[in-house]
Symmetry: C2
Subunit: 328 residues, 2 copies
């Protein structure tokens, strides 16, 4: 008979996390991910105890479609980071992840070396009903990882729905991984992704594909220059890399650290994090206001009626809205 593990206190959790204890870190993140209200209450208190010890990190978002070599890249990049003396946590935002199915990201089996590195920590995406829910849990996990001493947090995501927007708003640097195509690099890129990127890395640039990677680099550079520089004066860069052959990895790291240095000098780093916190505060509130309204049974019933009236040209959106708001 398995002896049931005694539930640790909040102070024990906090102590262990601050000491860098990985099992306790994992248990705390599991509490964050739990839908059980007692667990959530405990998680809230652990978070607030850890808050003063958080924030001391660089947060890097990495996105790219399946097949672009994200796991291989993160492995190579992660190894370079630990080799440079850093402690790396790899988290993920994957809205398709469910408790049963698991996440397609944070796949430990595909980061064989990194998973045994004692200065690295890999965690699959939380599962959840909505992107907002998943993003919240990941954001809170970042805090715990930072309190546990991880100074580099990588958040990975695939190009699903608004995942990139969510990850972009919780990181200091947003990296887009691409492949060299057949000259039509930018066709099919989701609107807004290029604008979010602080850098584009063209992966698998080795052997036969070196030439097309160079052409792709020109194409992406042109695309990036269609936009004004970012708020902090940074002009997004394009690099080529081969994660498999460990090419371009050190350059990527140098680019990011130079970016972080620059943005800390002009206070942009702190300002951006404050803006992100405020964004999440308002996002959470606005999301809940809408949920409260639209799940109201009276509203649900009237909403379909009003939409039908709209489609039949019987009323204006504004009059319909007025009536629905009065239903409440």
């Amino acid at each position: 008979m398995l002896k049931r593990r005694k539930s640790a206190s909040i102070s024990e959790f906090t102590e262990k996390i601050l000491a860098g204890d990985i099992p306790f870190l994992s248990r705390a993140i599991t509490l964050i991910e739990s839908t059980n209200t007692k667990h959530q209450a405990k998680a809230t208190r652990i978070l607030e105890a850890c808050m003063p010890h958080a924030n001391n990190s660089i947060r890097i978002g990495i996105t790219g479609v399946p097949g672009v070599g994200k796991s291989t890249f993160i492995e190579a990049f992660g190894k370079h980071l630990t080799g440079a003396g850093r402690k790396v946590a790899v988290l993920a935002v994957d809205p398709s992840s469910s408790v049963n199915k698991g996440s397609i990201l944070g796949d430990k089996t595909r980061m064989e070396q990194l998973v045994t590195d004692k200065n690295a920590y890999i965690r699959p995406s939380p599962s959840g009903e909505s992107l907002g829910g998943v993003a919240q849990k990941t954001r809170e996990s970042i805090i715990l990882c930072e309190a546990a001493g991880f100074d580099t947090i990588i958040i990975e995501t695939v190009g699903v729905g608004q995942s990139e927007t969510a990850v972009h708003s919780m990181v200091d640097f947003f990296l887009l991984l691409k492949l060299a195509g057949a000259g039509d690099e930018l066709q099919g890129i989701k609107r807004g992704i290029i604008e979010m990127a602080d850098a584009i890395v063209i992966n698998k640039a080795d052997g036969d594909t070196i030439q097309s990677a160079k052409l792709a680099k020109v194409e992406f550079n042109r695309a990036l220059h269609l936009y004004p520089p970012k708020d902090n004066g940074w002009t997004p860069k394009v690099l080529t890399a081969s994660a498999l052959k460990n090419i371009g990895i050190a350059e990527t790291y140098e680019m990011i650290t130079s970016y972080i240095e620059k943005s800390k000098k002009n206070d942009y780093f702190v300002t951006k994090r404050n803006v992100q916190n405020k964004y999440w505060l308002l996002e959470t509130i606005n999301h809940q206001l809408k949920t409260n309204f639209y799940t109201n049974p009276k509203v649900k019933k009237s909403l379909s009626m009003e939409i039908e009236k709209l489609e039949n040209g019987e009323t204006t959106p504004f009059n319909a809205a007025k009536r629905l708001l009065n239903t409440n």
Copy 2:
């Protein structure tokens, strides 16, 4: 002593508007723009009476920064439309407009010919406290203009805040007016504008500037082709024009009518308007939910406290949100 005009009934308003009576159309739009609740109630009923007679038009949004020649372009374009037998209404969305200052758009003094054209109607932007408020009044004015027999509605806006987004979501075709620059056409363009455009017209392409206009056309075409075609398969076009010399105006009109034909054939036209109506319904509701929440005095007080805690790293955005939502 001025004799006070007797207030007309709703049925009289409706009758006159449907008969194309311009003074009554103007009075009804003034009721829409009024902040007086009695006027608003009356406007609501006139709108609902006019709704069945609305929708029979093409709605064209035109945006461009000051100096690009918007008034001249709209005048030339409007004259071409009335010459082709159409009845044109020119409205505007200008959030900077106030009851005292007036609108910088819909400037009748700059459209001298069009203003005397009996098949044209020009109305300055409503004033209002917020873009949402202004946009709502313009949208409702569109309905009245259509009921009054105007089959082409032009909505103009400058590049301020989210005005383009608001106008884009109330029109069938969105036109971006640009000038030929010094080769750096796209620097400084607000994010998202190019993606919204169904066409870009490079104005003032005459005499010395014809050559740079051609180069700009190449540049803009390249930019537009970075994005996938629109939902209805339309690839945005770039034209050059000189509104002053009446060059390119007929071509612009042909392009738009061919677009409308195509989108009516595959039902996209109706689908898009339904989507826009639903968008405005939800926008209006969500805006009101937020207003109700954030103007609550208890919330106002707690919000600044929570934001301060955030900036001091004392709490997470999610915990702060939870407390604020419980304040309500």
